[in-house]
């Protein structure tokens, strides 16, 4: 009969060795005696007794001394780290500045990217929420547009079973809402009754199932309600006046739409109201509103897309029109379509900045690696002594990794402060409202990032330094190996490749932006002030224009259907017919309604014929095209020829030169000017330079008297123009900073390395100087090596930056040519920065008196 093995093992594990034999012996004796009577009771008795020995008196000492040692080592490592920071202040600060600016930049980009990824991704229906868009064949090119027939949404919902909800959302416009005497201007749209079931914007008041059902109902944002009523409470059922014209009942209040939504409305009206106010939206040939659909669980977007391809055509739409569906959440980042196929969009900027962040962090880490390995020789005695005294390689690796992680955490703290300081500026550039993250998950992942950066930066020096042979070190036999030198050089080259590529890219972006700003657009966008006519202004348009024209400082005035930059926002038609037209050919043309004098005021040049003018009598049956339209129709000698528009004949009286009414991303599209004073409500005037504020003040007064109750919203045309390139402008500004940062960090690294090299070669320099070398000669000697590295970097970076710039420029239909001197100048810039940095350091080393350096030994 044997006592239970496990219990005995357990006893042996925890019991004091000097008590063990006695206790075991006694336990076994008791067990043996008892097992004669009852083996089972003996077994349990034994186990129970063993448990009773579990008290401090009988416990062995567990190896607490090991832990004490680790703590001591930890303290020791911290002390050593602290001392080395103190001793090598310059490299400490180079590392700190480099790493923290790299990390700060990474954090900022991370904030921006994560915000971009969230945009329009906040609706409950997720991927089942799709936008139905149109593809139109236009001159052999397929264009994609979000404008669809206003009747599409409800017809889809009636006919297709896989649709849960569908809504039309119209174009946005600014309208005046009035309560008592208070006039407030806000952005409004027409939307279907299921709007709030499709988009999960939180509702504060109102019944979602009854909202927007009644034709005369309106839904306000809480902000709008406060502006109108002074409170967002209890406004349901109250009445507001729209445009001093119609009355609407408030049927709901929603919370102001979050910044991460591209839809930003102050109020919504019903589609029923749209049908009445804009009956043209109910025809299948007219496209303007957007269509949104929520699919049933299990229905795929692809299958749905395939099913609805000919939906518009089958209901009497244009022949060349097909429709398809795309997940709504995708559109923000993947909103560009080339020839009808999705081709990137903002996602490219997201990717680009992520890559930039990665490389900047990498450059900063490389600095750290380079400096630590370079400084190894200074600390080599420390390592040798430690190893000789029995430090394991692991302990040394831990020491150096710990040192770099401490450095990284310190830098992260600095970076975080930097982010707090820079965020307002960053928000200004990016047009976002980012906030400093304070949630644990983000902070933890930032700490994780710091540890990771520290690990990356510290791994090479840690592995490299700990691998030295102690005997060789202490005998002083250690010399830098070739591979070590190559790694260090390679890293410097890599840093400069990144910097040069960034400089070239920034330059190309800048040049292209300059090009878009200064290129002759074919019209003059400067000093054109316009405002949207409402109320009295639209009713007595000619009087308004005449009054405005007489303002001092206004040289000319006329009116137009919409701001020039909004062309293509739902005002195109494909119903133009001409002699010899291929019946299958669909040519989509911009329809620009103008008043007399408008084309002249825009300074759009005539190629042939004439402008519209009152002296020619009625112009209803005349038309003016641009060159692109004439080319698309293939008409020779166009003046005097007849085309058919909306079933009525029109005589071509003029042809104007192509002008860039859309952004440079696209080719100039066919366009015609249609003289229709009744359809123009943008009053535009040419203002003399320097008189803008006078004119605006006068205009405000005039508008107040002439159009009481309506609020004036005026803009300059060139502002609208700038807005077209806002994404590029942001990229240009941001990448400018990032390129500067990359150069800064790279040259910091170079500074450190140069200082180190100069220090190592102090004796050599001394001897050279004794033999008659001049200071300048010494500086050149030291710079030779660095120059070679930077030159190699420049050579490598050229093809890379060429490919990148080429790709970016391909997004523009009108673009600059890449010039050789973009590259040459970027390369020279990098070289000069490198020279300057190195010279700064070596000059100091060269000036040291040789007597000082050669005194010892």
């Amino acid at each position: 009969m044997k006592p239970p093995k496990r219990a005995l093992q357990f006893l042996r594990w925890f019991c004091r060795k000097d008590y063990l034999e006695e206790i075991e012996g006694d336990l076994i004796e008791v067990f043996e005696k008892l097992s004669v009577i009852s083996p089972r009771r003996a077994q349990w008795g034994f186990i129970w007794s063993v448990c009773k020995y579990l008290r401090p008196q009988f416990m062995r000492a567990f190896k607490f001394n090991v832990h004490q040692n680790a703590r001591a080592m930890f303290r020791h490592n911290i002390t050593i780290t602290y001392r080395s920071f103190l001793k090598y202040k310059s490299s400490f600060f180079i590392n700190l500045i480099g790493l923290s600016s790299g990390l700060a930049c990474t954090i900022l980009i991370y904030l921006w990217v994560s915000d971009e990824l969230k945009v329009d991704n906040l609706h409950a229906a997720g991927d089942r929420l799709v936008e139905v868009m149109e593809r139109q064949v236009d001159n052999g090119q397929i264009t994609v547009q979000s404008g669809t027939p206003g009747i599409l949404a409800e017809t889809l919902a009636q006919e297709l079973p896989e649709i849960v909800h569908a809504t039309t959302v119209s174009w946005t416009d600014n309208y005046v809402l009035t309560v008592d005497d208070r006039n407030v201007q806000g952005t409004g749209v027409y939307a279907g009754k299921d709007y709030f079931k499709i988009f999960s914007f939180p509702l504060l008041q109102g019944d979602p199932s009854k909202m927007l059902t009644d034709k005369k109902s309106i839904v306000l944002s809480d902000e709008m309600a406060v502006r109108l009523f002074g409170t967002a409470e209890n406004v349901l059922g109250k009445t507001v006046t729209w445009q001093h014209e119609k009355l609407f009942n408030i049927s709901g209040v929603f919370k102001k739409m979050p910044a991460q939504s591209t839809q930003q409305y102050d109020f919504l009206l019903t589609t029923e109201e749209m049908k009445e106010a804009h009956p043209w939206t109910q025809q299948w040939t007219n496209n303007a509103p957007s269509t949104f659909v929520v699919l049933r669980e299990g229905a795929t977007v692809e299958a749905f897309s395939a099913k609805i391809v000919n939906f518009v055509k089958d209901h009497g739409g244009e022949k060349g029109t097909t429709v398809f569906a795309t997940p709504y959440s995708r559109l923000y980042l993947h909103g560009r379509f080339v020839n009808g196929v999705e081709a990137g969009g903002r996602i490219e900027y997201v990717r680009m900045f992520s890559i930039i962040a990665f490389f900047i962090l990498l450059i900063a880490c490389i600095n750290f690696m380079n400096l630590s390995t370079a400084r190894a020789s200074r600390r080599i005695k420390e390592i040798g002594t430690k190893k000789a005294m029995g430090a394991s390689r692991r302990a040394l690796i831990i020491q150096y990794l710990g040192e770099s992680m401490l450095m990284a955490l310190l830098s992260m703290a600095c970076a975080f402060l930097l982010v707090i300081l820079l965020l307002p500026q960053f928000n200004l550039i990016t047009g976002k409202t980012l906030t400093v993250p304070t949630d644990y998950a983000t902070l933890l992942s930032l700490a994780g990032l710091a540890v990771f950066a520290g690990w990356v930066a510290g791994s090479y020096p840690a592995l490299y330094l700990s691998g030295f042979n102690p005997v060789a070190i202490l005998k002083g036999q250690l010399h830098g190996s070739w591979s070590e030198l190559w790694v260090r050089r390679g890293l410097v080259v890599f840093q400069f490749v990144c910097s040069v590529v960034l400089i070239v890219s920034v330059w190309v972006v800048y040049e292209q932006m300059q090009y878009t700003q200064t290129k002759n657009l074919g019209y003059n966008k400067d000093h054109l002030l316009y405002f949207e006519g409402q109320g009295n202004v639209t009713q007595n348009l000619e009087t308004a224009i005449a009054t405005v024209k007489n303002f001092p400082g206004v040289t000319n005035a006329s009116s137009i259907g919409h701001s020039l930059m909004e062309f293509g926002a739902g005002s195109s038609t494909s119903s133009m017919q001409w002699e010899g037209k291929d019946p299958d050919l669909v040519v989509e043309m911009e329809n620009v309604r103008v008043n007399y004098g408008m084309i002249e005021m825009l300074e759009v040049q005539l190629v042939a014929g004439r402008y519209y003018a009152p002296q020619y009598g009625t112009e209803d049956t005349n038309i003016i095209f641009n060159e692109a339209a004439i080319a698309a129709m293939g008409i020779q000698d166009p003046i005097g020829k007849t085309v058919t528009l909306w079933g009525k004949p029109r005589t071509i009286v003029g042809v104007v030169k192509n002008f860039h009414f859309r952004s440079f991303h696209e080719k100039v599209k066919p366009l015609f000017f249609n003289l229709a004073p009744d359809g123009t409500w943008m009053v535009m005037m040419k203002v003399e330079a320097g008189k803008e504020s006078d004119v605006i003040a006068r205009l405000e007064k005039f508008h107040k008297d002439y159009n009481p109750g309506f609020l004036l919203s005026y803009r300059f045309l060139d502002q609208d123009y700038q807005a077209q390139y806002v994404a590029e402008q942001r990229v240009a500004t941001l990448s400018k900073y990032f390129a500067g940062l990359a150069i800064l960090i790279s040259s910091l690294g170079l500074l450190g390395l140069a200082a180190f090299t100069a220090e190592r070669r102090l004796k050599e320099i001394g001897i050279r100087k004794i033999h008659g070398a001049t200071n300048v000669g010494v500086v050149f000697l030291l710079m030779k090596d660095f120059t070679r590295m930077v030159l190699v970097a420049i050579v490598i970076s050229f093809p890379i930056s060429y490919i990148i710039s080429r790709q970016w420029l391909d997004g523009f239909a009108y673009k600059i040519n890449l010039q050789w001197w973009f590259f040459a100048t970027a390369g020279l810039a990098a070289l000069f920065v490198a020279w300057f940095t190195v010279a700064l350091q070596t000059w100091r080393a060269a000036r040291v008196s040789p007597a000082k350096t050669l005194r010892s030994e």
Partner: protein
């Protein structure tokens, strides 16, 4: 010199160590105590008391020879030290002196 304190069970174990003079080891003490006290005890309790008294210097211990019994483990024998005896005497005298103060009357039930 101050005599170390003695707990009730410690006192019993010490008495038994003294009584078993030179033959007192864990199990022997346990069994004799169980015999006298007429109740079951756990061997660990005896060890706790023995070790504590050894630390106080009331008993001394030595290992016995290796035998076939007990899985080859040696016994550890305890003997009372002079200090131990004095502690017992002191305890005994103390009890007696107080005991003698009890008046000789009959106590109520």
């Amino acid at each position: 010199m101050k005599t170390p304190s003695l707990g009730e069970f410690e006192e019993l174990v010490l008495l038994m160590v003294g009584a078993l003079h030179d033959e007192a080891y864990g199990v022997a003490v346990l069994e004799n105590l169980e015999g006298h006290l007429k109740k079951k005890l756990n061997i660990s309790a005896v060890h706790v008391a023995l070790k504590r008294m050894e630390d106080k210097g009331l008993v001394r211990s030595r290992f016995g020879g290796i035998t076939e019994d007990r899985g080859g483990r040696r016994k550890k024998y305890y003997v009372m030290t002079a200090l131990g005896k004095r502690a017992l005497d002191h305890q005994y005298a103390l009890r007696n002196s107080i005991y003698n103060l009890i008046p000789d009357i009959s106590f109520s039930k």
